[in-house]
Amino acid sequence: MSPLPAATEPPAALVAPPLYGLMAEFDTPGDLVAAARRTRDEGYRRVDAYSPFPIHELTAALGMKRTKLPIVVLIGGLLGCATALLMQWFASAVHYPINVGGRPLASWPMFVPITFELTILFASFAAVFGMLGMNGLPMPYHPVFNAPRFALASRDRFFLCIEAKDPKFDLESTRRFLESLGAHDIAEVEE
């Protein structure tokens, strides 16, 4: 007779919190940029890099789209401009028309300063909150913070993270790939 396969508990590793991705650390911006480019060439798409200061080459290296923020700001500005003009015109010429110093009710030149200010104000709001919104901030909790040495990302270390969601992601091969990039301290980042 043949022995039955032993019904064993699944190993603890399998119920361990799901994996977010692999975090690789580099020493210089140059390494990071190079690594990023290689990663993308390799076909990874869900990749992000973390650095203590903006590195413009990264955007290209990671093949990001140019942001839409400027449009948002433009719209904000136009909105402010319109609001200001309408408000002033409505208040002084329509809702309660009063003779002030013999000036015309709708004295446009006098409305310019406020119009200008509100344009700037609305545009600025659009810029800041647009940026935060698109960046999905505030987000105090994020998986990458689970990476042990990630605190250095705001000091002098440079990180590259390939997310587990990436179709090409495979724990072993990806880890090997990252090592091939000359990264050190490659860490598994939990969700």
């Binding site: 990264l58 408000m87 960046n135």
Partner: protein, 468 residues
């Protein structure tokens, strides 16, 4: 090639050689994260704080007794309040100017001074904002200057420069605040990661909004920062232009002049930089930041002061010239009265402070001797206050009908509130340097030579090649 040491006047470096990402980060964040608060901080802060308390006392008394406790009267309906308002707003110009305009002009040296210059802006504007409220006869009704639906079916009178002020100043304050905060986010993240105590971790963490330095974020971040700079630049120009409208819209000889907007703006920058120097020179000394705020910075600021100072001088000249050239008897008399009238000495003091003294800045030796620079900056601060006093008071105290001419003098309460705001301002500065990085850390990192990606030119901030 060997760069001369930073303490050499001829040095051109804006960051002491030898700094690394780590050293920059630790040096600046340690000031904030240090467990022990230095004694001089306590001394200075308590001093400023007591002045602040006196300010509030004075304000209380003012609100109870009425505006009569000041020296204002008819004809001189505006006194210290408006003088101080314009003065503080002027000071509030340097910050945004440095961050915005110099950014657009790729003046990298701005990085080590823009942060506390911006903070200074905010605090100065806060002081300025007090006065339009306090100088009202019925301050508790100040909200009537804001358009809002009400049961009286009434609106502000949008032709009045004072309403423009409300919009200009509040916009300026808001935008400056946003600008400052956006700049702070990555640094707050840095502090969050450096902080030892949980409390501070959470505190800075909340401010950092979960910033993690992702490339995607940096990209949008820089775009937004650049756009803000682009918006703030015309704004900063507009604010003092609008403030100058308070006078130019008026019919009073000495106010009714087209030269005001440009020369107010120039004056504001002049004064603003003077105040930056006033703060920067002691700060770099006590916190040993000579490596970050180098002589190069001081020299550049001195040069800007010299330039704007000359513009202001030109402004005075044109004013007096027009008084004569216009052929208008009232204008002519106003100029004559400024030079020789009962307030003549104010005018000549102003000339001494704003025009003669700054000429010293032509000399490099002086530009590169911090303590002299500091003295000159102080003189200019005083001079710019005098300028506003001359504009407000001498124009009003003798206008069209000699029968209504009068005199004006600040009372003890005028002075209390003026000095008080200075104390308040300094107190805020002290809090700032204790709890926030007074120099932009992440921007300093970009100053470190190794920040450049080998073999690739650093593109201008915010710009992006390689559309994909």
């Amino acid at each position: 090639m060997s760069t001369p040491p930073v303490d050499d006047p001829r040095s051109a470096s804006i960051l002491e050689p030898g700094h690394t990402f780590a050293s920059v980060t630790d040096k600046i964040s340690s000031i904030v994260l240090a467990r022990r608060t230095p004694r001089f901080w306590w001394v200075g802060f308590l001093l400023a704080f007591s002045l602040t308390m006196w300010l509030f006392a004075a304000i209380g008394y003012l609100l109870v007794r009425g505006i009569g406790v000041w020296g204002v009267n008819v004809p001189v309906g505006w006194g210290f309040a408006i003088v101080n308002f314009v003065w503080w707003i002027g000071i509030g110009h340097a910050g945004t100017l440095i961050s915005a305009i110099l950014l657009l002009l790729h003046q990298e040296w701005r990085t080590s001074i823009n942060r506390f210059a911006e903070a200074m802006t905010l605090f100065a504007v806060a002081q300025a904002g007090l006065f339009p409220l306090l100088h009202l006869g019925r301050p508790w009704l100040a909200y009537w200057l804001v358009p809002y639906p009400n049961t009286m079916a009434l609106w502000p009178q949008f032709r009045s420069p004072l309403v423009w002020d409300v919009f200009a100043v509040s916009t300026y304050a808001t935008v400056s605040l946003l600008f400052w905060y956006v700049g702070l986010i990555p640094d707050l993240a840095t502090l969050r990661d450096r902080a030892k105590r949980k409390f501070f971790q959470i505190l800075y963490g909340m401010g950092a909004l979960g910033w993690r330095g992702s490339a995607a974020h940096w990209h949008r971040y820089e775009t937004a920062y650049l756009l803000l700079a682009g918006l703030a630049t015309p704004l900063v120009i507009s604010v003092h232009t609008v403030v100058s409208f308070d006078f130019t819209i008026g019919i009073i000889p000495g106010w009714h002049s087209t030269i005001f907007p440009p020369y107010f703006v120039a004056g504001a920058i002049y004064d603003g930089f003077a105040m930056v120097l006033t703060l920067a020179i002691p700060l770099r000394a006590v916190y040993g930041l000579e490596g970050f705020i180098t002589l190069r910075h001081l020299q550049n600021m001195a040069k800007i002061m010299l330039a704007t100072g000359l513009i202001v001088a030109y402004g005075y000249m044109i004013e007096d010239f027009m008084g004569w050239y216009s052929g208008n008897a009232f204008e002519a008399y106003t100029v004559h009265n400024r030079l020789t009238g009962p307030y003549g000495h104010y005018y000549w003091a102003l000339m001494l402070c704003n025009i003669l003294t700054p000429q010293l800045l032509w000399f490099r030796r002086i530009r590169s001797t911090p303590w002299i620079l500091w003295c000159i900056a102080m003189v200019v601060n005083a001079g710019m206050w005098l300028e506003r006093f001359v504009i407000v008071v001498t124009s009003l105290h003798r206008d069209f009908l000699p029968s209504s001419w009068g005199m004006y003098q600040g009372t003890v309460w005028d002075w209390s509130i003026f000095i008080g705001t200075i104390g308040f301002f300094i107190a805020l500065i002290f809090l700032f340097i204790r709890f926030l990085p007074m120099i932009s850390i992440f921007e300093m990192r970009t100053m470190v030579p190794t920040a450049e990606v080998a073999g690739e030119p650093v593109p201008a901030p915010g710009r992006i090649e390689g559309e994909v």
